[in-house]
Symmetry: D4
Subunit: 171 residues, 8 copies
């Protein structure tokens, strides 16, 4: 099945964060592709990736980057597909502040749909929501996922109400 979501990141060191996006899409059976594209080390590859994204059948692109994080914004400048940006708190970033600001503060005309710092899973959920606007079966799966989240909270609530908060705490 042709990939509907492209997941990219600047280096393999971003994979521990970005794999959470892949895992979520896998869980929802949404076809996707993962690769490495660096705005600063492979700018031509980045241009090519963005320009061919639509013709390859991608509907959404998820791009993760840290520090002076230009990948999501530059991809967005080169395609009309929605681009989701994941600010990564990489080893050299200023606790993620640089990653966040250099992704979210895009100028008028070229939006990047930004999620929380290290929020790769949320990026995948957002991608699924976007696909779900016209694919009801994905929207349905998201509803199931949402119900599961709720269920887990209710279970935790029941546990704490039944067993008592004292019995649960471990620091």
């Amino acid at each position: 099945m042709a990939a509907e979501v492209g997941i990219i990141m600047g280096s393999l060191s971003d994979l521990p964060v970005m794999k959470r996006a892949a895992l979520f899409l896998e869980e929802l059976n949404i076809p996707f592709e993962v690769t490495i594209v660096s705005a600063h080390r492979t700018p031509e590859r980045m241009v090519e990736y963005a320009q061919s994204a639509k013709s390859k059948g991608f509907k959404v692109i998820i791009a993760g980057a840290g520090g002076a994080a230009h990948l999501p914004g530059m991809i967005a400048s080169l395609t009309t597909l929605p681009v989701i940006g994941v600010p990564i708190r990489s080893r050299n970033s200023l606790e993620g502040w640089d990653s966040l600001l250099s992704i979210v503060q895009m100028p008028s005309g070229v939006p990047v749909a930004t999620v929380a710092v290290d929020g790769a899973e949320n990026a995948a959920i957002l991608a699924a929501q976007i696909l779900g606007t016209f694919q009801p079966e994905i929207a349905q799966k998201l509803q199931v996922y949402k119900d599961n989240l709720k269920h887990k909270v209710l279970q935790a609530a029941q546990k704490i109400e039944t067993e008592g908060w004292q019995s649960i705490v471990q620091e």
Copy 2:
């Protein structure tokens, strides 16, 4: 034509920023609805708005808010539609930092597609990109819009190269 995008904000004072979203959607002929929904002053209305959004035919929701900005995130908690958050630098916000962080830093499971502070136009472009994933005519219009942006930059470049930078500057 049924509205595909819902634009909401907490109060009329947000309209000077949020109207840019409306203007863009109008320009692209994308049907939308604008109203006031306050997370903190009309929480029940907010719940109802979010829960009925899908059945009313909305595909995307754009929510603007300032300060401790809970509207986008709470809407996102109540629907599987993609929600776009616009952090507003309102009179009482800390230069927009509070608005930005309380919208973008959503927990795992409930993403908000966050744009720049006061970035209402980009929110509308992002909504159009989302709709464009399955409506090629919208994607086409976005391409035209993108080409126009490029054209204006090229014109400015030509102007500055022809007339000289000295003749243009006015402070």
Copy 3:
């Protein structure tokens, strides 16, 4: 005895911080209830919790949350009881800055009594102070607690003055 204070948090992972509130209320013999309520995962439960809080006899609600922390503010939007917010420096928060700003910067009309980042014990003390405004025996216990704090400082002062600062330091 009916609970006078409701302590809530978004997930079990907040319990190591929030239990300090429970421990303090226990120490002062103030009846309370602890449970899990998530603004983003169980929004309907949150509405119900807030709306029934007064009729259940609660006088004060303590709500802890991290990141884009909406729980305290949303509870406050749904009740006229005083709500105390505890910003939690959770794993994904930006060192607590997002938690703090999204709790304290509430718009006019809907206050949240915000304490320090991870300040759950202070939240409980504040709850006791609120109850103490009309329950003199609680105010008295708070005075005893305050005297104890002072006593411990005086003991430390005596120790350092008698034994010398050199003998105490351990890094």
Copy 4:
């Protein structure tokens, strides 16, 4: 009628912000007193104010301060009454960041119920909520106030839905 709320601030220059607290309490017919107490210029007066607050019949103290804002915390160190702190964005503060942090980040044992920067009205609402825990008629008035807030939002919503967003915007 004896004052139930004490409103204090460091100088007359804080009055434009702090008067909003007075106006709200006046509206709700809650008796209060306003005066000037400076932590740094009249420390002895501050000690005396805090120590006599309870015997004068105060139930709650609202203290506003800017910059290195010590007034709320020092009052809280000297009484068991709940103290509400209003961080003021005064002329010499760093956009309110110093005021906020030096009020909210109190150490364990001595809470200050902190509201938003310049949030004096919310401080008064919070004071009313505290009084309302045992004075049902105040809680009722708060409910009316809350209903009014909701009503105004609903009116604005109706206006924008009826008249259209275009007719309203003025920048």
Copy 5:
């Protein structure tokens, strides 16, 4: 004479800041070219500009940008010429913090020589210093410029010492 320095910026609105770079180079008789290149609106033009910069004879590139400022870093990714970045405090930037961080925090391998927020004149001085490493006459002019700066301070010092500080102050 062939231009040795290329000055670029994303839009005409950056010219009031960036013209200071042009004025300085003009003063030192260093040939330069000014034009508009937008990373986000004309990405292909940007690639072409960067890739042809060396063959056109440029030795240094000065790039100004605001908000999520990607222009300097992307140019740097496409050439081995030194690139000087000027963070611009544009209308939509967060007081310049976003501009600064998204320019200076470049990943290993692709430096941008960053100057102060709105520091376009310093960017030109730095460009001249770079050219001066191998063009002694430029280094000499820089020494004259530096001597002038010193001279002006000494004059101000003399004025204040002779006339007295009271006679000078005007607020």
Copy 6:
């Protein structure tokens, strides 16, 4: 009478802030000298100023600077006299954050006594306190000054208590 305090700043544009230091010392009859010394434009003059400060009879140096503010710290590196640093919120500083951090965060071995952003008057008071440690008549004047501060607060308090807060407020 030989000057006991040296007041320096990097340029005449700092005088509107720094003159408050001069005015205070004048009021207390403490002899002082004001001049311009720029760390970055007249580094040799700065070295000379610092090295001759003690032999000229100065007891304390007050240095004001903005942006990357190196003057106070560099003076401190060149003398054993106490140096008081005034972070100035100059036109190009990042709201004073850069000025504050580059003055206060001195490495071990070379302290700068830092006061608030734009706190030139406090710098002068601190200088007087330092002189007052061994000149009782200065300490006495400081006590009078302190009493005056207190007196003004008490007057304001009386005014607000007598006339009522309503009659005073003007926004």
Copy 7:
């Protein structure tokens, strides 16, 4: 010999930082006293400490505190002695930002001589500099200390120049 410097801190947990002040004064043979004084837990003791400081013979007070750090400023409000504030990055502070701002941003009239975060040694050096303004033998010792600092740097320089940077690095 009567103590000339008083070193205080809010709790024993501040001692690992504050002992560096004690060690330095000991090294210079300057008599001092160390004790615990908490602004928030022992406010009366704090008032008494500050008011009796001068009559006890203290010339300077060094006060360390973290979080909403009120101790240095409150001491300064109660004495005309110079007060040196040490912002402590305590366990609950926001990386020291709250400590720094709530100490340095004092209002006009009441300065605190603030040193770097955790800069207790510099506080002691500053205290010695203040004493040295009228005690030439202390100024002399400071000069020796300064010469030692220089000497160590010169030794390190020689080591790196002789042995080579490769032989020294250990990570």
Copy 8:
């Protein structure tokens, strides 16, 4: 061969970061010298170093410093050579914010080419780019280095595309 680049830092503790600059220059066969120069502990040595830098044949100076980082700016004030500043996140710096701001925010007239926090390798690359403007063989080596960076990314991309993202991730 005479050194073309001078690398300096305030203390040996900066070497683990700054050695990356040395390693890069070594790799490119660019002659350089490393030594220790402290702005605050050896100010005279610093002045001498800067003033003799040009006559010793240096073309560029790389200066690393942390906290209130004055070394790069002061060197820049004393020479017309380009100075590259490396903000170091040293043990006592505020996560590098103080280092960054006190290096990058230089006043008009005295630029420092600032790289990312701890970005010593990028400082060396920038130095090579500066030398490369007139030494084509260095520019060529930089191109090779750039090609290598690209190659490594392409290899990582191939690896992830061939082997699959699941097989690579290790946390």
